[in-house]
Amino acid sequence: MPKRTDIKKILVIGSGPIVIGQAAEFDYAGTQACTSLREEGYEVVLINSNPATIMTDTVIADQVYIEPLTLEFASRIISKERPDAILGSLGGQTGLNLVVELSEAGVLNQYNVEILGTELDAIEKAEDREKFRNLMLEIGEPIPDSTIVHTVEEAVDYANQIGYPVVVRPAFTLGGTGGGFADDETELRDIAANGLKLSPVHQCLIEKSIAGYKEIEYEVMRDSNDNAIVVCNMENVDPVGIHTGDSIVVAPTQTLTDREVGMLRNASLKIIRALKICGGCNVQLALDPESFNYYVIEVNPRVSRSSALASKATGYPIAKIAAKIAVGLTLDEIINPVTKSSYACTEPAIDYIVCKFPRFPFDKFPHADRHLGTQMKATGEVMSIGRNFEEALLKAVRSLEMKTDHLEYKELKNCTMNELIEKIKVNDDERMMAIAEAMRKGADIESLFALTKIDRFFLHKIAHILSIETALKENVMDKELLRNAKRNGFADSTIARIWNCDELKVAAFRKQQGLIPVFKMVDTCAGEFVSATPYYYATYEQENESFRSDREKVVVLGSGPIRIGQGVEFDYATVHCVQTLREMGYEAIVINNNPETVSTDFSISDKLYFEPLTVEDVMNVLDLEQPLGVIVQFGGQTAINLADKLVERGIRILGTSLEDIDRAEDRHEFEAMLQQLKVRQPRGETATEVEAAVQIAERIGYPVLVRPSYVLGGRAMEIVHVERDLREYMATAVKEISHDAPILVDKYIIGKECEIDAICDGETVVIPGIMEHIERAGIHSGDSIAVYPAPTLSQKVKDQIVDYTIRIGHGFNFIGLFNIQFIVDQDETVYVLEVNPRSSRSVPFLSKITNIAMAHLATQAVMGCKLKDLGFTEGICKESKRTYVKAPVFSFAKLRSVDTTLGPEMKSTGEALGSDATLEKALYKALIASGIKVSLNGNVLMTVADEDKEEGLALARRFNEFGFGIFATEGTGNYLREHGLYVHTVAKISDEDENNVLNVIRQGKVSYVVNTMSIKRSVAQDGFLIRRVSAENNIPCFTSLDTANAIASIIEARSFATISMNDLEG
């Protein structure tokens, strides 16, 4: 069917800020969708609150609204833009939910807006537990048996009926507290009795347990003519029980016979047809490893993380095709954009193995609950492509940047077998490494299978990798073994370690033997058709398919997996860099390994190499392509960290030189340079041992800020107030102190924090703007609310910042982007905290709000253009009249046991933008866009540290003025009461009182919690619980009085104060 001509304007809903479970994959999907719709001639209006996305670039849609994804704002936009149709199935759960809300509120009806893609009815059928169950029963697809029971006897009866094992899930307990697996009646009686007691409604769900089943996913598509295809099937290495987002996943399935594949394919297609979805859909199934029994676990009636993975794994652009289907085109009339010689109604055939490995944030949250289960915890993922599983797995491992290039962690080397078994048993995130280590220590496949239910196929493959390892150990410099190791994905660096020699020596020996990788194409058809996709992966085979063109070319390194501190912002800059290079006529080549992002969409660059970002893998590409040079400044610390090794191998770094990068990153050179430039910085020194650190701290005076050099997102950074804490920090937080990686000890200055991003071409420094942080110094810039234009900085301070920036830009010979963090103390003295010789997290935000495409300009500067010739002059650009606020977004509810208190270590996963005419309005938008419930009345719970009591009192008074009730813990309460406030004192946690502090939060009696941490760490435990319970109950908890004051300002601006006449003075 041809495309619809009765609709002209389409509203596309984005997915908002990045949180665990909903990340960059929706930038990829959304960008594709908008582009795809515009290709077909539709006018596209976009709403998304996430500024750090390519999707919200003004070139992607005809009208881009960076506004909160709420009913209130979406309705306004609909009323203003009057779209004919709305497309929400490409904006994740957020997008779908908003469409449902708009429909239920009658807005879509009122403005006559049609829902495209998946109909509301289908969404409900897929998401409503009961409706889903009914649909499955109707079409005869099996789902795990379950029922609700109120007594132990009912539970036992039901279990006897459906058979053990069963899962007990108590109703309305948080995070499944009190539930568990029961293998027999005795266990069931125990668990059910406990569960019923814990459930506030005395109810438990008894469900047939499918833990240990194989978890299989199907990515399917359907069009309005009922054509339906499987794009890709995938097998989770980890069986049912671990969220697929946290599982290692391979594509296609590896341990299924054709009959099983066919059976699950038919089930998936039946489901998408029954739901009448027009677009993409993800079906998750559980397959009994011992029979043909299977169950449908879940259906996502939209594009998802898995569909992004499937798109990158097969080359088939699901979101792009889904958008075309949504406007009426059918699969058999859309040309497959990969081959350009076949149709989109083709089930991709792949001739390689894809491995996805999740990236967890536990390097930043070592105290978090690391057990994997049904709640996703990974912040990002890597994908790798190989010609066998071993190769794909090892490529994925070294893409992770978890300080290992192989199936081994140094930390696990000294574990006993029992410790390893324990890690494996509890589904720890390091389990795959623990399995390998246990095998090294002699564990056999059968016992590991019994423990993990990971299919023997995968365990054999791990054993195979280890056998190669052993063979290598016994035969140093053996050519045939080297060949075998390379075919199975071993890195030169791994082999070098086994052979106890230098990586370069292995590389030289390898090349001498003619062992260089070839590049194969990802073409959706396993070579059956001639294909035009410039999408490649490396492998050790015979025929190379990637040829060097005679155009001038530049290689751009991506930023790898998304993690806290290095998010989608870096992908944004990478994509801009690539686009600019192409506009300038260069052949732009991308190397990256993140399947979620826009930069790994093969249509973005002239050539895409989907490879790990290690020096070996990058050099393989560079050896073939012989580019003019490599750009590292947009790929975050991942790319920057490769610079010196690339230079060592004779590669030219385009833009800021390696020496200048080092000058900014090496503490001593940095300090010397700032002194030479007469730029002020907090006093500080570096230490390589504990005693030296203590002496430095004494010399410059506490509090001090301590951190390892070369850090990412403030990892392991801490503010230390007394010597004892410093010693503790040195002993625990820092695992490896060495001369290569010393510890920085700086004077901690209390003051306002602000930052700039700037561009320098060697002659001119252009500063688009200064961003001021709401929270005072001490909270990581990535976790602070940033405001532009800076609301409280005087002209004198601004001038000083501009002057410093210009001096630094020239002094460090920056070519391209750089970022500087400043601190301004009470006397308006400006200090430079840190200089980053690269693109930063704030570049997309600042680019969008100042309308200066920074990465674009920086790329031009890197390639030799002069900013003056582009119409820029040195200094700061004119400030905008509108106020823009960037608010951090956290994923605390998903990471149990993580302390939500903000500090120098970054914790946020994403960001939202709010903009309006006044600061308060912009703040309001930013905060609600970030997911904070802004209540204009209610109660506020205060529990503040002694040193904050005075400020806390002022804050409490503000809240009290516009009618908020004040709840407080005893100490804080007494203080506030002494100063004339009426306070409800809540009981301590240790009191099992109905009104103890945790219950007050749980019962939703308070709208906000203000909790500041005491310097004395020992009393922190109660505070920790308060913060966790707030996070889990979605009650905003502010750990900085600055954030709380900002909220107060918003409430103030939006409500009326009531003050007694008696209190008026004078």
């Binding site: 058999d332 149709y343 089930e347 058709f529 025929e543």
Partner: protein, 355 residues
């Protein structure tokens, strides 16, 4: 142990020996099915052919006792990127390599299968053979150039004598050109009372059973070699017929339609075809190296065509229909197994008419 795959054009690929060490010269073709190697290996339509699997890891689920498509595999070899030693599946009985040794199927692993596939794609299918002795390579190349591929392959794989698959439903004769068990499963599921006959059977031998309809199975080789069957079909214009794969091609020849060899053929488990009855796209399992001419005579109706290259995948002439794909799937999709129902419906209708 080292083994070489030698191609007609002189190309040599070095790899590791798997399976048997008894070699025959065959026609090198490729399939892009990602699962179902056991079904492919035992599909008699691959007789005389050496299969390159585009999927690089084969053998993962071993071999089981259920998924055979014939008793004796007739293919001449298997070319793999990697052969998995440890089959892992609850039904796995033995490893692929063991099975290949047992059934005398030679093979090679560790070669760049994608390079070979691209070669066949661009240059067409070609002759190939295995060689274990490096010194014999030149002789092998020369021999390959001169050799001709065997003819009348279906006559080799067909049943030597008729045998019944007794049931109580429609009486059918199944002409065995190299029939897959899948077809028999589909017919038995529908309670058909089937007599399987050799593909060289005459019209009299077939009609003696007084079938309500005739099914022509898939099979290997050139349809033009099936001279007896072509004559038989010409003489049976009044009988309802369902031709599958080679069976459909033979039907086409009998109807005077040209059938020609394709460059690289259609081998795969999920090939999209357009159903011209409802204009929908269906996914089919295919294994054919010949195509039916697009210029169909006036009395023929186009039923199916391949979405990507437009080749004829199915036609109908009166009450006889032929499809080039395998509606029984195995390996791959059996989305089109409704064809068996349609065929039986046709028999029913005719039965009512004749009564």
């Amino acid at each position: 142990m080292k083994r070489y795959l030698v191609l007609e054009d002189g190309c040599v690929f070095e790899g590791t020996a798997i399976g048997s060490d008894e070699f025959k010269t065959g026609e090198l073709i490729f399939t892009n099915a990602m699962s179902g190697y056991q079904e492919m290996l035992t599909d008699s339509a691959y007789c005389g052919q050496i299969i390159v699997c585009t999927f690089p890891m084969i053998g993962n689920v071993g071999i089981n006792r259920d998924d055979f498509e014939s008793m004796i595999p007739m293919l001449y070899g298997l070319v793999l990127s990697e052969c998995c030693d440890e089959g892992s599946n609850f039904r796995c009985d033995q490893s692929l390599n063991e099975f290949m040794k047992q059934k005398k199927i030679p093979g090679i692993a560790g070669v760049d299968t994608r390079a070979i596939v691209r070669k066949i794609r661009d240059e067409g299918v070609m002759k190939a053979g295995f060689c274990d002795d490096e010194k014999q390579l030149e002789a092998m190349k020369a021999e390959l150039k001169q050799s001709t591929l065997e003819k009348r392959l279906s006559a080799r794989v067909t049943t030597p004598r008729p045998f019944p698959i007794p049931n109580r439903g429609h009486k059918l004769v199944l002409v065995d050109f190299g029939c897959k068990y899948g077809v028999i499963r589909e017919l038995s599921e529908r309670d058909c009372d089937v007599l399987v006959v050799p593909c060289t059977s005459s019209i009299d031998e077939i009609m003696a059973f007084r079938p309500e309809g005739i099914v022509l199975s898939s099979g290997p080789g050139d349809p033009a070699d099936c001279t007896e069957a072509i004559e038989m079909i010409k003489a049976c214009q009044n009988t309802a017929m369902l031709g599958i794969g080679l069976g459909a091609e033979v039907m086409a020849l009998a109807a005077g339609i040209k059938v020609s060899k394709m460059k690289s053929g259609h081998h795969g488990s999920s090939i999209p075809v357009r159903n011209h009855q409802n204009n929908r796209i269906e996914f089919t399992s295919q294994n054919h190296g010949y195509e039916i001419d697009k210029e169909l005579p006036a009395d023929c109706e186009l039923l199916y065509s391949a979405l990507n290259d437009g080749s004829v995948e199915g036609f109908k002439r009166n009450h006889q229909m032929g499809v080039c794909f395998n509606p029984e799937g195995a390996p791959g999709n059996s989305e089109c197994s409704y064809l068996f129902d349609e065929f039986l419906d046709l028999l029913k209708e005719r039965g009512i008419k004749n009564a």
